[in-house]
């Protein structure tokens, strides 16, 4: 049987496909472009920050750049990336199915993503949005820039996200192959399932919030306008009710990826299946109880702030459980230091470090000092880049042979992993110091005493950018000219490695036999 890449040719067979694997590849192209674009915005804004005073670009341009950087990265890359690429590709195979529950909705979700992204980009080209990606009222509702198209673009991207989540939940419930119970599922599936719950429940609230901003800006609805009695802080409640769980949409799939990588390259069963599975659900649900920690100094009641602070501590427990389980999985394992495994180690270190700074800012009395400074910026970049992007890159390298049937050059992979780690730390460790010393975020200029650290951060960003371009380069070359590989080059027990690389269109020549577990390395 021929594989899914060669099954049909021609652009129409791709654009009209309902094969989850082809849709995953199309998403991969789209999110990679988004990531590069978001990265370009970052390079530009960090360039401004090489000098402490005015110059290089206008303040309005700078404000637009950090807004577009945030919007592009969050909504066009971070939220869809791992679910829509690797979730799409791997989920059906991992449950033993031929495709997702609703293949046409899957394809539709891709086109909805494109429409939302296009509208957002059009809005940006029209000079839109200098409000920060968070669209806070009252500035967002009165800004002279064109906020409405971008806000609606975000809404549409949200619809795509809901469609994907819905599809995944239905697939896990209804398409598991016979004998594959919930507690035999690959843990990546649990991670994607938990993520999908958040997507389906939280995203509509985002849709409403950005619509209200658009309505306020374009039509003067005035719901958050103090002149009419409105309270701008209420916008923040609505916005963060989605946007906090959103960060768990960004990290849970990444955790799922590293949970697949560790057993394969330690040749050992995961330390505790239940710990990982249930902590994923724990993060998904408790994550909904913490949104107020973005608003400690916004003007909410201190009683409310205290409640949110306590809940924010609780949600960290689940992440800690995972970190200890991953490390425990390596104990007495037989570790192979391949590129994916290097990314695994980078993830553990950077996520744990970033997570601890999360506990720090969740402490209300400390956040009073750090809120809206570079400390917070560094914290979330540690999680988003150090966590999610690292896992995304690990996933790309881990599943590259499966998706393309070819090898990537391993030496390049090692170089890229090291380069990402070094570049990332050079960029963001100085930002913790800057924030703690009081440098506010989203500021165009800064006092001279912060100059050296800013230069260091910018140079780190340039290095990171260069490494990313290098990584993209060798991966694209490898897609077309890499050495052909066997079905299971890593020797993994995972279900996805039991089908050919690349898989045939219908995934399985014979039904998946889950009686041999996907982490069963005790067996010879």
């Amino acid at each position: 049987m021929t594989d899914y890449l060669r099954a049909e040719s021609g652009i129409r067979s791709w654009l009209g496909t309902t094969d989850h694997k082809r849709i995953a590849i199309m998403y991969l192209c789209a999110v990679t472009i988004a990531m590069m674009l978001g990265g370009a915005f970052a390079m530009l804004l960090r360039t401004k920050l090489l000098i402490s005073g005015p110059g290089i670009m206008e303040p309005l341009t700078y404000n637009r750049l950090f807004t577009w950087h945030g919007l592009t990265m969050v909504f066009m890359f971070m939220i869809p990336a791992i679910p829509a690429v690797f979730g799409n590709f791997m989920l059906p195979i991992m449950v033993g199915a031929k495709d997702l529950a609703f293949p046409r909705i899957n394809l539709a979700s891709f086109y909805v993503y494109c429409a939302g992204a296009a509208l957002m980009l059009w809005g940006m080209v029209h000079g839109g949005a200098d409000t920060g990606w968070t669209f806070y009222a009252p500035y967002a509702t009165t800004s002279p820039t064109d906020v409405a198209p971008i806000a609606i673009g975000v809404f549409i991207l949200g619809v795509s996200s809901i469609m994907t989540g819905l599809n995944f939940i239905a697939t896990v419930h209804m398409l598991r192959v016979e004998k594959l119970g919930w507690m035999q599922l690959p843990l990546f599936v649990w991670a994607i399932y938990a993520t999908s719950i958040i997507q389906v429940i939280a995203t509509p609230v985002l849709g409403l919030s950005v619509t209200l901003v658009a309505l306020d800006h374009a039509l003067g609805m005035g719901l958050f306008d103090p002149a009419l009695g409105g309270d701008p802080v209420l916008f923040q409640h609505l916005f963060w009710f989605y946007s906090h769980p959103a960060v768990y949409i960004m990290i849970l799939p990444a955790m799922g990826v590293v949970t697949e990588i560790a057993p394969t390259f330690a040749r050992k069963n995961i330390l505790s299946y239940r710990a990982i599975a249930f902590s994923s659900l724990g993060i998904a649900f408790v994550g909904f109880l913490t949104w107020g920690h973005h608003m400690f100094v916004a003007g909410i009641s201190q009683l409310d702030a205290a409640l949110f602070g306590v809940m924010s501590m609780f949600v960290a427990i689940f992440s800690a459980v995972k970190v200890f389980t991953w490390i425990g999985t390596l104990y007495r394992g037989s570790i192979a230091l391949t590129t994916p495994m290097l990314y695994f180690f980078a993830f553990i270190y950077l996520f744990a470090f970033g997570g601890m700074t999360g506990i720090a800012v969740a402490t209300t009395s400390l956040d009073v000092h750090w809120h809206d400074t570079y400390f917070v910026v560094a914290h979330f970049h540690f999680i988003m880049i150090g966590g999610t992007l690292t896992a995304f890159l690990g996933a790309i390298h881990y599943w590259f042979p499966k998706m393309f049937g070819r090898e990537y050059p391993e030496k390049c992979g090692v170089l890229s992993a090291i380069g990402v780690f070094v570049g990332f730390n050079l960029t963001f460790v100085p930002q913790f110091l800057l924030g703690n010393a009081g440098m506010p975020r989203r500021y165009y200029s800064y006092p001279d005493q912060f100059h050296v650290l800013n230069v260091c951060s910018t140079l780190g960003a340039y290095l990171l950018g260069a490494v990313m371009v290098f990584t993209l380069g060798y991966l694209i070359v490898a897609v077309f000219t890499g050495k052909r590989t066997s079905a299971n080059p890593w020797g993994s027990r995972g279900f996805e490695w039991r089908v050919p690389s690349p898989p045939p269109t219908e995934n399985f020549d014979e039904p998946l036999d889950p009686t041999i577990g996907c982490y069963d390395y005790d067996r010879a």
Partner: protein, 206 residues
């Protein structure tokens, strides 16, 4: 259903569609959550203004609309039952009755809006009435947004029921295969469910 289908049986495919529909309904209902939260918050902040503003709600029209939607839920349920018993013409008839109810709901809504706008109770910065405390504008803005969002769903529901009526007339639905009809009726019931809460919150609370 082709030989390449990922579904082992028609029953499983239908059950999956049903689950997908419930997930969609769950998601859609969250769309109203933010507006309800805003309404609750502003009511706590401005109890007098909201009380006075609510006096101007047209309880008569709101209540008629409530009875309309409750009855339309019955008629779509009867349409589905007719298909389960293989009665094609009864299905179409009940669907058409339900559509009529939906249209009536929307018309009454427009009448209400026209009345409010005539009195100067417009949303946001278009509000011109002077008879109520200032923050009453927030009540009306949320009233328009909540009922407007709901009315959009009613309208979408009418279109869905219309399409289903066409398909039923064509004979697409059999007693054992009518999952699209079932999912469409579930959507209509959601529209009813939302109004069941909007009606007391907007019209009856004093």
């Amino acid at each position: 259903m082709t030989a390449h289908s990922q579904y082992e049986s028609l029953a499983r495919r239908q059950a999956t569609a049903r689950l997908g529909m419930w997930l969609f309904l769950g998601s859609e209902s969250l769309l109203f959550a933010g507006l309800l939260a805003l309404f609750a918050a502003y009511r706590v902040m401005y109890p007098t203004a909201f009380h006075d503003a609510a006096e101007h709600a047209n309880v008569a029209l709101g209540t008629i609309n409530t009875y309309i939607l409750l009855t339309s839920s019955l008629t779509v349920a009867l349409a589905l039952r007719a298909t389960e018993h293989g009665r094609r013409r009864a299905t179409v008839a009940w669907l058409l009755v339900s559509i009529a109810f939906g249209v009536a709901f929307d018309v009454l809504k427009l009448v209400e809006y026209a009345q409010h706008l005539h009195d100067g109770f417009a949303p946001g910065h278009y509000y011109t009435a002077t008879s109520l405390p200032p923050s009453s504008v927030l009540y009306f803005t949320l009233y328009y947004l909540l009922t407007g969002l709901h009315a959009l769903h009613v309208t979408a529901g009418v279109i869905v029921l219309g399409w289903l009526a066409l398909r039923a007339r064509r004979g697409d639905f059999t007693p054992t295969s009518h999952i699209a009809l079932e999912c469409g009726t579930l959507y209509w019931h959601l529209v009813d469910l939302v109004w069941i809460f909007l009606w007391p919150i907007l019209y009856l609370l004093r």
